[in-house]
Symmetry: C2
Subunit: 351 residues, 2 copies
């Protein structure tokens, strides 16, 4: 954000303050404050007078002033790496709902997956003195998280971090990748390839999970990974890369749902059928995967729960109920749909 612009803005005609209310109700400032805060120990008569004055003046408490003196904002800052990925729609929804229940506002932000912008977004939240920070699959380096964690409660969602001082809510990506590979192997596949998530949060762990599962199942010789990204194009490019190998893999485990969808497109363009020729598994089980036309087998990640839990972790810390790190790791599950099936009888090779 530009540090400062030189425009002069006219302060909107000043809104009524607590003092205006007090005068109108013919009571003291503090009495008004007490009414607003729901403090008991105000005579019903005065309370009513104040309430009326508030109504008439259309008075609205100034959260900024309150925050300054209370030295807290009741705002949870949330930096979301990718607002366009429907998975984060679930996460946001979970955050929003739980925060509201616990009496906090939520302030969202994004850096569009660009580390430098994400850093600026976080900084912006810190300057606002949010009470706590949720980082959803951030792409910033660990030291940034670490540093934030020394100033305020921080919880990292859906990404591993070495940062101490912060909590985290993740799913077991190793296990999730294992589920995907086992499912495919169980169907009879051996040439199972992986399109990874590039530099995305959790990408390397899912990749590692794939590698381990392949070795564990005795498929070490068939390991084949290509670079992708957590985007449709990433999956598309990754699949195109895979299509150059011979014989072709009979199954692809993509790093997330959108990239799996990109892979599906590449396969179709190459004249391959899914799942008859190539099976595909995604990750996140977003609403996209559930769409009938796509019907993608996917590893379920419970985004809403992640968001909800993240808020709970944060609020525990904010309200001083816990000061030791908490790291929730959830077990993913597999949702089987029609993008996976047994491998073809004869190995395919693109002409």
């Amino acid at each position: 954000m530009p540090r400062r612009s030189n425009v002069k803005t006219q302060p909107s005609q000043s809104e009524p303050t607590i003092l205006d209310v007090a005068r109108k109700a013919r009571v003291s400032k503090s009495l008004v404050s007490m009414v607003i805060r729901g403090d008991d120990g105000v005579s019903p008569k005065n309370r009513e007078a104040v309430l009326n004055a508030i109504e008439e003046l259309n008075y609205r408490p100034n959260a900024i002033a309150r925050s300054l003196v209370e030295r807290r904002t009741r705002i949870l800052g949330v930096m979301i790496s990718d607002l366009r990925n429907p998975f984060f729609g679930d996460v946001v929804s979970g955050i929003q709902i739980r925060a509201e229940e616990l009496g906090y506002r939520v302030l969202f932000n994004t850096g569009d997956c660009v580390p430098k912008l994400e850093e600026a977004a976080i900084e912006s939240l810190l300057e606002l003195r949010v009470d706590g920070l949720i980082l959803a699959a951030p792409r910033v380096d660990d030291p940034i998280i670490e540093r934030a964690g020394r100033v305020l409660p921080v919880v990292v969602l859906n990404r591993d971090t070495s940062a101490t001082h912060s909590d985290s809510v993740t799913n077991d990506n190793i296990a999730g990748a294992g589920l995907a590979v086992e499912h495919l192997a169980g169907l009879g596949h051996t040439r199972i390839a992986h399109i990874d998530g590039g530099g995305g949060a959790g990408a390397s762990v899912r990749r590692e999970g794939y590698l381990r599962a392949m070795r564990r199942l005795g498929l070490g010789d068939h390991i084949l990974t290509v670079e992708g990204a957590f985007t449709e194009n990433g999956g598309y490019r990754g699949a195109c890369e895979l299509l150059k190998s011979a014989p072709l893999p009979t199954a692809i485990f993509a790093a997330n749902d959108i990239s799996a969808i990109g892979a599906l497109r590449a396969l179709e363009e190459a004249g391959l059928r899914t799942p008859a020729d190539v099976s595909v598994v995604g990750y996140d089980n977003t609403s996209l995967a559930a769409l009938h036309q796509i019907s993608l087998t996917s590893v379920q990640q419970f985004g809403t729960d992640n968001g909800r839990l993240g808020v709970e972790c944060l609020v525990e810390r904010i309200e001083g109920k816990r000061s030791t790190p908490r790291h929730e790791v959830h077990a993913p599950t597999l949702v089987v749909r029609s993008s996976t099936g047994p491998p073809p009888n004869e190995p395919k090779t693109l002409s």
Copy 2:
């Protein structure tokens, strides 16, 4: 939001203030303030001393305190009706980018399409004294918008409103619906049905656009509308309703993309092929419509541009460059994909 909880929170160990910096740099408070604000007229020596002190103390300006005295926050409040609809992902992205360019922070909020919750979300933003408010397809009543507009600059996105005092950025829903109907009629369809968006923002206008276009094209006798919603289920239910009619419509214009996708599912479940038996058109041209597996003909709405423009309108008002209402209406376009084609030769009726 619960008005107040009674937990006592320990103020995090207090962060350094401008005064700490001043002491460390052996200068006055105001000098530090000048440096931070980039005010010129500070000797290079002092400036350096201050910068060093800031660095060493890890000082971060307190935006809350600044806002209180400046009587503005440099925050744009954004209430998004539906964070899960990918269309709003585009809108949010446009808002975020443009706001950042213009030196504003963005604070997102949602009320999950529930009018009462949306109202609370807006109120929350107002208490925070955001400098301006963007309402993306809000479902609150006009008076709420009107009232907000009297206190601060407000711009309404993707919805008509009778509220004065506020700006708006919409697309021409009448024309958009017209494009959809004309496209279908051009393909030879006459029995073109409409699944509306229920109470969603813009739903009634699109419905009206459908009605007008049908009459204009001499298809008044074939008008057929059912109630839907801006959700997949809404479209699904609407289509199920349509499937009860005989003869079946040969084309469906759904109120938005997600509902069109729901309609596609209903058709498929009924054993009907798209577009051979029934053509389908959506609205918004979201990333979903572009997915190869879905390939939905859709009316393009340019969400990113809407967001960008909304921010520009707002900032113009905030910075006092304009005080007359501005209402941008964009012309939609039609993106033809493979969900539409000529009608079947023989009218279909479900057995």
